[in-house]
Structures are given as structure tokens and as C-alpha cells.
Symmetry: C2
Subunit: 350 residues, 2 copies
């Protein structure tokens, strides 16, 4: 049912858009609930089914969703669910308990709607590069489509009501996935992350909530969703991210002018290992792909494309490897398959 997804790469992985050399993607999610129905954690089975019925009706009648895929999680096995988590189309939390849950994914994989996760609706839009405006336009249109067909739980004095009070208000979280290898290499990253933490921003890793930063990827998002308008929140994020981008650009220039040989050595060694390894862990893969991405962005390694490197971050994850191989794989088998796929994909370019 979802097998065809592996044939394509998500639209947010194109490696294009503003500041695409540093910003992988921009993402906005909205938390919404239906008036008069208990939040998912408190809803009884018929109430949760009612939410599924209501939202499915909206999906089916809304032209925006005509190329979309709609799946109930209890129709999927654990590899399929993990596969969608790995594609950033749903949360780990959503995958764990499947009863009365669903997910809607548009053809481009730039929009995903989780039904009955922490809130009745978690709407997410993702765009390649640093483009929160485009992301906002997309998600706003989807939000309007739901609002035209459903009655949202909303209080004028509080805004949108949500299961967790930290989301009440706009119900919005904006986040930007940044690739900051130079700030890591010159050991300035902690200073930067501490500074933005004071401004009430949260930093997560490549693979979302609860994950450590790895491969020099940092997903930065607002913590506050109450007391500000959506546009103010997004402007805030944009201002902070623009500063981080500037720091990273300066760090890259400093490395190029003061430590070029060391930098080239690290980048080319990473390339050589990726092209030749026969056993590789996912951690090492992420670290090496990060260096390769930097090599591409600095023009040191020619003939690559950002979309291919981005795709490798996704394809080399456990459930993806098992979908490609069409069977369960042990950790050792995955390390072998991962190396094989990386070699194949990079071979095409050389």
C-alpha cells in the first residue's frame, strides 16, 4: 500500500530553495482538535473512530488531497510504520500504538496529517530549503480546508485547544533542519545552541523528537505557541535561523582559508569510505554523509547532487533497507545492505 513511496524521494529532500547549502528543510506543524470530542488519550474507541470518520470525509472531498494516500495504522506492519517515521511523515509516538490512528500523505510527501496522535489532527508541511513562507501558505490552505468542514476546539481567549498546554494558542510549531558541520568543527556549536535556548528555541536531532543531534544536523524550533500570532512566531524563527546561517557561513569560510587541507582530507576520506565500505553502521553513515554534503556545498567534491545525498540519509535507515530488500534483516545484514546501497548510489556519479 505504501511500497511505491520508496520509488521517489520526498519533495522536501530536493536540496533546493533559499540557503539550501545549510538549510535542509523548513517545517510547520499545527495541532488541531475537534470540538466536543475528548483528546485522543482520553477518547473511547467509538469517539476515536468518529474522529477518523470525520477527518476521512474531509480528506475525500477536499481537492487539495486528491493525490494523497490515506492509511490506517492498524493496516500496516511494524516495518511499514517505521518506514513512514523514517521518511519524517509521522512521529515515533504515532507508530507505537496503532489503534484508531491514521495518516494522510500527499503525493509530494510535503504534507502529512496524523489523525489521533496526541491531538485529533497533527498537520505538517515541509519544504526544501529555508522557506517558512511557502510552508506557511501550504499549511494554511490545508488548515482552512479542515476548518471549513470541521468544528475546531477553539476559545477566543486561549486560541486552539490542545492535549498538551504547551501547544495551546496557535498550536503551531515551526522548525528548520540545519546542517552545521563547520560550527561543529570549529567548536562553536554549543555556544550557538546555548544562545538560542535562552531565546526559547529547542534543538533536536536529524530524526526528530527525542533524538540526539548527529551528523551535524540540528532541527531548531519554537517552544512558545501561545501569546503570539503565527506570523510573529515565524518571523522570530526566521530571524534566529538567519543568524545561525551567517555563523555557519563564516565558519565555513574560516575553515576554507585556514584549514583547507584538513577539511579536504576529512571530506575526501568520507567519500572514499562511503564508496568502498562493505559494512557500515547508520551512525557512521550519517557522519560521513554530512561530510560529503559539506564537500558538495563547498564545491570540493564535484558531480554530486544534494538531492541524492539527502536521499541517502533516508534510504539507509533500517526500515528502508528492509523495504528495499523486501524482508526482515538483522542489524549485521542491515550494515551490509546499507553499504551496498551507498556504493550503488554513489557509483552512478563517478
Amino acid at each position: 500500500m505504501i511500497d511505491h513511496l520508496i520509488q521517489h524521494r520526498g519533495g522536501w529532500l530536493k536540496g533546493v530553495g533559499p540557503n539550501a547549502d545549510i538549510v535542509i528543510s523548513s517545517r510547520i506543524r499545527l495541532a488541531r482538535n475537534i470540538e466536543g470530542v475528548p483528546f485522543p488519550h482520553w477518547a473511547k474507541k467509538p469517539e476515536a473512530e468518529h474522529v477518523l470518520t470525520l477527518t476521512k470525509a474531509v480528506f475525500e472531498k477536499t481537492p487539495l488531497f486528491k493525490d494523497s494516500l490515506y492509511v490506517r495504522l492498524d493496516d500496516m506492519d511494524s516495518i511499514d510504520k517505521q518506514f513512514l517515521v523514517e521518511r519524517h511523515l509521522m512521529s515515533n509516538e504515532h507508530a507505537v500504538r496503532s489503534a484508531q490512528k491514521a495518516v494522510l500523505i500527499n503525493g509530494e510527501e510535503t504534507v502529512a496529517v496524523m489523525v489521533n496522535e496526541e491531538d485529533h489532527l497533527r498537520i505538517q508541511a515541509m519544504t526544501s530549503g529555508f522557506d517558512l513562507e511557502a510552508t506557511w501558505r501550504t499549511i494554511n490552505a490545508i488548515d482552512d480546508a479542515f476548518a471549513a468542514n470541521l468544528s475546531y476546539a477553539f476559545k477566543p481567549e486561549w486560541g486552539f485547544l490542545t492535549a498538551c498546554p504547551t501547544n495551546t494558542g496557535t498550536g503551531m510549531r515551526g522548525s528548520v533542519m540545519l546542517h552545521l558541520p563547520a560550527l561543529v568543527m570549529i567548536r562553536q556549536i554549543n555556544r550557538v545552541l546555548e544562545a538560542i535556548a535562552k531565546l526559547s528555541f529547542t534543538t533536536r536531532g536529524l530524526y526528530g523528537e527525542g533524538t540526539q543531534a548527529s551528523g551535524n544536523f540540528f532541527q531548531i524550533s519554537n517552544q512558545v505557541s501561545l501569546g503570539q500570532r503565527e506570523e510573529e512566531i515565524l518571523d522570530n524563527i526566521k530571524g534566529v535561523i538567519a543568524q545561525i546561517i551567517e555563523h555557519e557561513e563564516k565558519a565555513r569560510q574560516a575553515l576554507l582559508s585556514d584549514h583547507r587541507e584538513m577539511l579536504e582530507d576529512r571530506i575526501w576520506r568520507s567519500y572514499g569510505t562511503l564508496k568502498n565500505a562493505h559494512i557500515i553502521s547508520s551512525n557512521e553513515t550519517v557522519e560521513l554523509l554530512s561530510m560529503l554534503r559539506l564537500g558538495h556545498d563547498l564545491g570540493i567534491v564535484k558531480g554530486l547532487n544534494a538531492a541524492l545525498i539527502n536521499e541517502l540519509f533516508i534510504l539507509t535507515q533500517p526500515a528502508h533497507l528492509q523495504k528495499i530488500e523486501k524482508k526482515k534483516l538483522t542489524a549485521n545484514e542491515r550494515d551490509v545492505k546499507r553499504a551496498e546501497i551507498i556504493r550503488e548510489k554513489l557509483e552512478v556519479l563517478s
Copy 2:
């Protein structure tokens, strides 16, 4: 004067001959002294000059040496001397103090004669592969040529007299350079080396006396030169080496059948790093070249040749890099130049 040597590779590096997949080279050296002249460490300057005159006269009149190069060490700078040490054409000890010393090197670099090292003459012959007989024939002919023209210090009851009593008797040391990566990987190497130590054999590293084994290379030689005929000593060495070769072959087969993926991973990663590094130390180079050599010998990496890999061990040493670059290089500059040369040499093959 010795600059042209860098254009060629020593004949003992051809990577051919019996058991060339495990045995890099076979080497015999003879220690000889001239009757009535004090050993070099005790000789006064005119006595040492006299040895130089006598031996030079033999070099010049002997047809065997017609393509040879004869140099006095005080005509060379320190890089040139180190260069000859790196090519295994003279000892470190010979290079340290230059006064009244010389070296003769044949065109193939398979014969080298040090004059006024620890003994008046240290004659060395080297052959590619496991072939002590051929090496013995070569060195025997040279020994005869000297004996026909010089009066050797010799006592019928002791044999040839030498500066160090451990060399007295035959004055002969036979040694074989082995590449034993599989025994190292399966952690059997210490057991093997301990066993041969009990049989009065010595193990040295790739770069001769006083060096540690590195890159899985072990130079194994006899310690005893007294009380046995040359042929007996050589037969002894041959027997011991044949056993070690068998152990290494079994270890390689065991790795191929039980740990093929791990083995391929290590070999290909080494290849990838060698082909892509921009800064590389000599230690890392030796380790990675060892893996590449194994990959070639097992047929895992195709299109390489053993002679080229052998040559890289020699070319990537400090004095060689400086001869190639025709100037002094700092350690950092050498690490960069070393990586460049390895990339160039390996590029030709791919």
C-alpha cells in the same frame, strides 16, 4: 648522483617469485673483513681510507659490478643518505657517521655493498619472493670476486672474523620479509613469533634493524652464524619460513570462509582511504597498503599490481618524498605530499 634511482623500482620489489603473495623478498648478507686491517670502529682514518681504496679497486675491475653505482657517504647530504636507507640499500648505522664510508649499488638494486660499516664489507643481495637459492648464488659470486682480490680475515677453526662475535663463522645472515596480515587479524601472530624465537630466529619490522613490525610485515632472520655451513643455515630458514607461509595461507582461507564481509570491508575501506586522503601519516600508509596488498593477493581488489603496491611502501617514506619534491619538507608537508603521490599512483589503475 643517486637521483636517477627514484625513476626505477628496486628489482627485489617486483612482487614476483615463489610465494610472492606472502614473501616480499629474500635477503642474504655477508660480513667480511680484510686481513691485517683493524675493524672499522677501531681503524684510524688512513686505515679506513686504505679499505676504501682496496675495495674500490675491486669494484672497478670486477665485471659483475660494471653497471653499479659507487658513492662515498661524505659526498651525500642527509636526505640522500636517508633515501638509500629507505630503499633498503644501506643501514641506518651506516648513514649516521659518514667519514670513510662508501656504498656500492648494482643497477637492479638487488646487490649493495657497504664499506666500513660495522665490518669492512657488508655484502647484501636481495631477490623478489621466496628464493634464498637465487639470492645465495648471487651473493656467492660476489663474495668470490672479493675473495679473489682481497685477503679476508679468516681462521680455519672460527671461520670469517667479524667485529661483532655473533657474526663470526659464516658471517652470514639470511632473512625473509613476510607479509602476514591474516595471522595478525586472527591473533595468531604472537604464537608464531614466539615459536620461531625459540628456534633462534629474530623478527624485525619492515624498515630493518631496530624497527617495530608495522603494516603486518615481519622480517625473519637467523641469529646463529657459527657452527653451521651456509647451506645448512639457509635450509633451516627455508624450513621455518615454509611453515609460517602455510600458517598464513590457512589463516587467509579461514578469514575468507568465515569473515569474508569483514575482510572485504577492511580491504575496500583501506583502498577508499588511500585513493582519497589528502593528509596521511607514514604509519597509516603502511597499515592501509598492507590491507590493499592483501586485497590484491586474495583477488578481492582487481586491476592492481603487487609491484606498484610494493613501490608505494618505498616512495612514501620521508626522504623519498623530499627527493621527489626536490626540497626539504616539514612533517605536515610530507603528509600532504604522501597523500598526493598515493592518489596519483592509484589513479592510473582505476
